[in-house]
């Protein structure tokens, strides 16, 4: 007999085998020893990806930290990641930044470019367009600081590659909610 894999559901099905996509998940946790290890351990134990990770204490009085994870997976997998994170005792809130319309994301990158001549002028011109600051300069190199969404930083890096890019350092994604409400 052939298996009918179509759901007969009359209700919206939350799980589907959709396309895998990147997702930013922010986790508000009690800042206690080992909490980062719990979060990271969950990802590795259950076979989820971490593409970038940012963590710091964000509320000294409440003693909470914000962990922002860039991961990827199908919508069903992202749902599962959120549910699994929610089970951890020190986790106060899990926020699906990608799914929320009022979320802001930013990343900061430091980019080293070694070049001279026309390439040097072109690098300066592009840096200006991307509002990147030159933090350090020698006669043959720049270190640029650029902030923005991942797409903007990726675009800047791509443009700098033919102009002598030698090294990049990125903070990973940060996120915050727009408007008066806070997480």
């Amino acid at each position: 007999m052939s298996a009918n894999t179509q759901s007969q559901s009359v209700y919206p099905v939350t799980q589907d085998e959709g396309e895998a996509a990147e997702a930013i998940i922010a986790v508000i946790v009690d800042n206690e020893p080992g909490v980062l290890s719990r979060v990271v351990g969950l990802f590795s134990a259950r076979g989820y990806n971490i593409e970038s990770l940012t963590v710091a204490e964000t509320d000294v009085e409440k003693h909470t930290s914000r962990i922002t994870v860039l991961t990827n997976g199908t919508p069903a997998k992202i749902e599962q990641i959120k549910a699994q994170l929610g089970r951890l005792v020190p986790v106060r809130r899990v926020i699906d930044v990608t799914a929320e319309t009022d979320a802001l994301e930013r990343e900061l990158a430091l980019i080293k470019v070694v070049n001279n001549g026309d390439h040097r002028v072109e690098a300066m011109r592009l840096a200006d367009i991307f509002r990147a600051r030159a933090l350090d300069t020698t006669h043959t190199s720049f270190v640029f600081e650029v902030t923005g969404t991942r797409e903007k930083i990726n675009a800047f890096i791509d443009l700098m590659k033919p102009l002598g890019l030698t090294e990049t350092s990125r903070t990973g994604v940060l996120s915050i909610r727009r408007g008066v409400e806070s997480d």
């Binding site: 007999m1 298996a3 009918n4 894999t5 759901s7 007969q8 559901s9 009359v10 209700y11 099905v13 939350t14 799980q15 589907d16 009690d30 020893p33 080992g34 290890s37 719990r38 351990g41 134990a45 069903a76 749902e79 599962q80 549910a83 699994q84 929610g86 089970r87 951890l88 005792v89 020190p90």
Partner: protein
Amino acid sequence: MTGQALQKEKETKILTPAKKPGAELLLDALEEQGVDIIFGYPGGAVLPIYDAIFKRDTIRHVMVRHEQGALHAAEGYARSTGKVGVALVTSGPGATNAVTGLADALLDSIPVVCITGQVARPLIGTDAFQECDTIGITRSCTKHNYLVESPQKLSTLVHEAFHIARNGRPGPVLIDIPKDVQFEEAQYTPRDEARKRNCIVLPEIKATQIEMAVDLMRHARRPVFYTGGGVINAGPGASETLRAMALETGFPVTSTLMGLGAFPASDPQWLGMLGMHGSVEANSAMHDCDLMIAIGARFDDRVTGRLDAFSPNSRKIHIDIDRSSINKNVRIDLGIVGDAGAIMTALVAEWRKRETQEKSDRDRLRAWWTQIGKWRARKSFCYEAHDQFIKPQYAIERLYHLTRGKDVYVTTEVGQHQMWAAQYFQFDSPNRWMTSGGLGTMGYGLPAALGVQAAHPGALVIDIAGDASVQMTMQEMSTAVQHDLPIKIFIVNNAYLGMVRQWQELLHGGRYSHSYSDSLPDFVKLAEAYGGVGLRATTPQELDSKIEEMIAVNKPVLFDCVVTQEENVFPMIPSGAAHNEMLMGGAVTGDEISDAGKALV
């Protein structure tokens, strides 16, 4: 001293209770949590705690022979009472030996609090004697764990640990206490004042979801209740509600290995256990149903078989306390997060309300029950009897019949005997069946039986064991004798690692690589060596009298039940197959041997 000054001193004493060493604070907190028994093993890093235990007689301590046994005993205690089980072990090897028990409790959602000693704070990180990173090692096999950084935090952490262990989806919590914290003095924080993080927030039951569920139930023509360990964990009241719900709806009920006993096996609506070695009627009903109502079950791979062929034409309602269980393995149409008991109560209330408004058509289930009757007629648990040798199935059947009506608790190890116990031992009430379902821990049953017996001194506690499994924790026989825990270890002895042998026969061309237990001990002599009682049965004729002898003895018993060696557990859904592709036992179809014939043997 004036009267006034005396009064003032009294008041300040009440306001600021006397400081006590950490070890005393720990025991005070355990007492306040209602702990009456601890399973443990002493060692260097917990000596102050053992010293404190020595000075008070409010808490009974059962010394095991290996820390794994302490954890399983705590699990057995927890599962048979519904309370939190407590284990106490030392640092380093004590903690690493406890890991199996912690992982077992995590996968089966058993509330356990494990206290481990740790080297003194200044020594942490110096590779001190018996130091290990207990928190790091146990992070992934506990629901939560703590390193106690100061005695001031000790009692509040203990209270929070119990809160976390027993609430929400239960599980093991570990508290790692450095030795100097056990000595240092601090004030006690009572249970009411302890920090309890709001980590277990259950959403309110939504009326719309209950209405939707009842809507689906009223129109289902081929419904089935698929219940699991969550119903047991939700307490005896949840089992009662399940019975009421089944009675009112007329739906058939099946259960996972973990959920046996929540619904009485003697009820005509009972289909038997489902899954890899479940009954034909249970698995076929799961495959062909049009509405599946999963309650406190988690669609484990032993239950679902091939996922893409799992119950293809049904709508699925899933009730679970853990949001992450819903939609984890199988797509769910209606997921309801919450306590199984509370949600079933809401479902029953809604069902009754709707029935008084308009009776549902009971006849719509007739064809379904007729079909179930046909599956039942295949008698999936039939086996070929033997008149000279004991068949393992026969052994469990006789054990069940001869213990009926008694106050019986059953634990098992893991393997063929476990499946036969699940198939042939019938349970009519919850908390009577303790088996390692998720982790599949060989060696679970014997120490778990100790925990059950310690909680229920007058009860008949039987560990249905295999000859291989039982040797993994055999040393706990010594614990049983020392602490007057008259458990009955019923070894289904086929001299093989039976389940391994079965898989090798069916899947690896009969190449029995390292699955034969050569040089088995003489279990009768072994029992005697421990100071217990050894019994052996080798023929069907003597089996009954030997079992009766075992029941009558008020001492730990090792019962060596010598059975036929190459029996397989059937029916069987091979890994990667669908529910309707079951393998049935050899030549026997079930019709050849009448009940009378089976009784002869």
